[in-house]
Symmetry: C2
Subunit: 567 residues, 2 copies
């Protein structure tokens, strides 16, 4: 048996590097994002991943859990193919009991052993990145390259980041201390103290449809490494990526001598509302959730026994003032609006532009000019169907299509959405983004989230009004991202001030190949916890520090005035 | 003007030492607890403190706040003297608006400047420790020496501890970073990123009657140093210690060029329920509370816009199994039960003893023996009235007296409470503790908190049953402290395991001059957050990390392939 401490030794260097990275926050990544970097040293190639994916289809998913009381029908791919999977459904009482039973040994193993085990889990997940990419693609609708990167190495980087924060917090105190308090002429008071990291209890991770691994991994790994058993409740339409993850975790836990029931999958029957059932259980002391504002807010208010981390809806906003790289700005925005058909919590929705237009490359551009040029940039980016599908992926569900269908009724359509034929998956629904022109007065429309490929070009009284609107939008309705384009340092500073006031990450003048939708692990914080779109950043110390507690025991040492036996 | 950065330089060495102390958790203290260490270098002596205290009495308290809309009648001393004080009452709308207006400049000053200011506040509070001791004594009823130590230097140490944790968390990330991502043969993506600590919003501190400073300072200083304006809502019977604290804070803030409205006092009219009013305000984003389980639980459930830290009721438990220092054990327990008449959240309540008795110094002792000997130890400790009052202090309020009056009806009285005449304050109510014998079956009585000088000697089926009962008591009803006496290493280990399971700090075999009621700043954690007595430890990283957020801004740097101008 490979012990947990062997595993810690195997991965300690990586952990140390990650600990530096979370302090420095310059560029670092642990897991290669290049698709071709895989296929050797025990890692699956693109073809291996496809074969592994094909091998799990059309049968019950292989997951032996003690609480199984039936099977749940699996998901259908947004690319139109049947996956033919079923998953084991769990009896909640038995599942939670098993999780609790597994906890003391996991707690007693200590931070190093737990870190060793979770880093091994992550290493094995990394090796199967191309298999996970297929699973993410065929549940989220992401195009393959994005499913691989975001669902594979980027998600793994975020997991490692949360492990590093957790490890730093768990080990920030001495595990033992001698306390010796002077007492004047009397002998000192002397005590020995032991400090133990103890878990809160069972952790519930509620996955989402669009980023089943990326949004779930930080909470899952932070809870697990800090000693908590984790119950993973996947989105009913995106089970497979988390089922594979749970499978790997259980395999490694078992090999290292721990109960596999420290990580379990809890898929739900249609209409079961299992997230609600689990969140209300007294055993559940941590909840991580990504999804609708409605259910996120419900969780925040109705599970007081647990610490609840939520990422909810937001209204991402861009201030357009001026640019010295008009073409770069348009290309960058076109890409941001198109990537995964805007089905990202980070996609911009509202582009705020002065009614009198902007200055671009020293020339005035009217709102009509910008509208036309942005539409042209998107058309140019998505003109070729094969290239377009590689960027857009597939529409994940009917809700997105409905919102897209309604968008044209809100204002003047600057760019209509177009249906793209997928060269490989004819049944996939692929749609380009629409851009609709609104005025600042149309608050009822643009001050809510229209998740999907819907963007609004909103005319305002000027840049100052745009900045005020950005501040108000984020404060009242939340946002994960914000951006500004300006050649005027004063405008950039005023927008930064608004972003600080409202509590949102700001990207300034993105004209190259970094996009506002992207956040890089170990450098960018994803969400802030400071506005209504999320009650925590993912990942930072506040995200991990309350997942465990320190419990101490103290005893007297022999009096300080007792001379030691001469040696 | 002394700038905030000057103040940071003045106190930086102290902060650095505190930062080491919170890691090492061995003995350290910043502020002398010796009463005689004060009186020089600008600090008030005992007599100075008394004079300063006398000078504030019998008039409106000098606190100029913008929101004042009337005066609140002040408190009456548990020692029976009238203080004759009134305090300014605040209009909530105006008060919160003023607090919010003060926030941006405080945020923009940054962690070092804020740390400099709060450490100067603390230094000035320390210099006035003997004045605060009078204020704490005449509101909490603590005896002078305890009011001085717990309300003065020990509270200041806890404040410094929370400042150190906050500073460590605020500065754990780089404030700026260059991010340079390789792009194969293309030039790297290069960005510069700025990370800013931003406050959550207005922080509310709700003080308690018995430890107005000690229990309020960690939250107050953690919130302030992380950028949040703090509104202090004192207990109506313990306003003066916090009024003095707010006075000092406003003075230092003003001198350093910040708005004094970053720290305000909000005393309440009788029946106003101001804590509830404030806690429900959208502007209030942090709540720190010490008090009843009922209101603490209400806060946890009804202020979802805020992060809520509560310390509530608990049932502190001691397992008696065996000892090789019977006399030391009895003396230690007698002191713990007597200190401040048991009016501490850390005082033991339930002493669990096997029905067949214990082994002491190698001899069997029956329950009757132990009951008699414990009663004798308490009598011996409190036999002299002057010495007794110096230990007991005064009964803080009628609720304590009521509970004491009911105790005799619950079981066999092992030791009756005695009324002690106070040599200096004839109107003070001074009472010795009562010990009542119960059986493990009397769960309805001993499984709730009887705050005050009421202890139960509870007979069980044996030590194993006692340990199980400890675990159950803490899990279900909470506890701040637990203790065990045993000469058997297996019993100690089993009790440690139970303490880890239930999440409570354990003291083993205290027979000298350290008491289970005491927790030392920088070494002992006070509360754990892992059982119902408190939802957080006071102080650790989890207590501070979510009091602020990090907001980032990123911009491109010129491309990496642009050769720099030759120098």
């Amino acid at each position: 048996m490979t012990t947990a401490i062997d595993l810690f030794a195997r991965h300690e260097q990586l952990l140390q590097r990650a600990l530096s990275a979370i302090r420095e926050r310059s560029y670092w990544s642990a897991y290669p994002e290049n698709l071709k970097a895989y296929g050797e040293n025990g890692t699956l190639s693109v073809a291996d991943g496809k074969a592994a994916f094909d091998a799990v289809l059309d049968k019950p998913f292989a997951l032996e859990q003690p609480a199984t009381d039936g099977q749940v029908a699996g998901e259908r791919s947004p690319y139109g193919i049947e996956l033919g999977l079923t998953y084991p459904h769990a009896d909640v009482d038995v599942l939670l009991h098993a999780a609790q039973q597994a906890m003391p040994a996991w707690r007693d193993a200590g931070p190093d052993a737990r870190a060793g085990v979770v880093l091994e889990i992550l290493a094995r997940i990394n090796a199967r990145s191309h298999e996970l990419a297929q699973a993410v693609m065929h549940t989220s609708g992401q195009a393959y390259a994005m499913a691989f990167q975001a669902g594979g190495p980027h998600a793994q980087d975020r997991a490692l980041e949360s492990i590093a924060y957790s490890y730093a917090e768990m080990t920030r105190h001495a595990t033992e201390a001698t306390w010796e308090k002077p007492q004047g002429k009397r002998p000192p008071q002397r005590m020995t103290k032991r400090f133990t990291v103890v878990p809160r209890g069972v952790a519930l991770v509620v996955g989402c449809n669009t980023f089943p691994t990326w949004n779930s991994y930080p909470g899952l790994f932070a809870s697990l490494v800090t000693g908590n058993p984790v119950v993973v409740k996947p989105h009913p339409a995106a089970v497979l990526p988390l089922a594979l993850t749970v499978q790997v975790a259980r395999e490694v836990l078992t090999e290292a001598g721990f109960s596999p029931d420290l990580v379990t999958l809890a898929p739900e029957q249609p209409g079961e509302g299992l997230a609600k059932v689990l969140a209300l259980r007294g055993e559940v002391r941590i909840v991580d959730y990504t999804g609708s504002t409605e259910f996120g807010t419900w969780l925040e208010r109705n599970a007081p026994q647990a610490v609840v981390f939520t990422e909810k809806a937001g209204v991402n906003t861009v201030v357009l003032d001026s640019t010295d790289d008009y073409r770069g700005m348009l290309a960058n925005l076109a890409f941001s609006l198109s990537l995964y058909s805007g089905q990202m919590c980070t996609t911009p929705q509202n582009l705020l532009i002065p009614r009198d237009g902007i200055t671009a490359d020293g020339e005035p551009k009217s709102v009509d000019d910008v509208a036309r040029d942005l539409a042209a940039a998107i058309d140019a980016l998505l003109g070729d169907d094969a290239r377009a599908t590689a960027l857009l992926g597939a529409i994940v569900n009917g809700g997105v299509l409905e919102r897209l269908g309604s968008a044209a009724s809100y204002g003047d359509v600057v760019l209509a959405s177009r249906t793209v034929a997928h060269p490989e998956f004819p049944d996939a629904t692929v749609r380009t983004p629409t851009v609709v022109r609104l005025d600042a007065g149309d608050r009822d429309t643009y001050l809510k989230e229209h998740f999907g490929p819907v963007a609004f070009l909103v005319t305002t009284d000027g840049t100052e009004a745009s900045i005020d609107l950005l501040r108000e939008t984020v404060r009242e309705h939340g946002a994960i991202t914000a951006a500004v384009y300006s050649t005027d340092e004063k405008v950039l500073e005023a927008t930064e001030q608004a972003a600080l006031d409202a509590g949102v990450a700001l990207s300034c003048n993105l004209t190259e190949t970094v996009y506002v939708n992207q956040s890089a692990a170990f450098s960018d914080f994803h969400a802030t916890g400071a506005n209504p779109a999320a009650n925590a950043a993912l990942t930072d110390a506040a995200y991990v520090a309350s997942r465990f507690r320190v419990v101490q025991s103290r005893r007297h040492l022999p009096g300080g005035d007792d001379p030691a036996t001469p040696g």
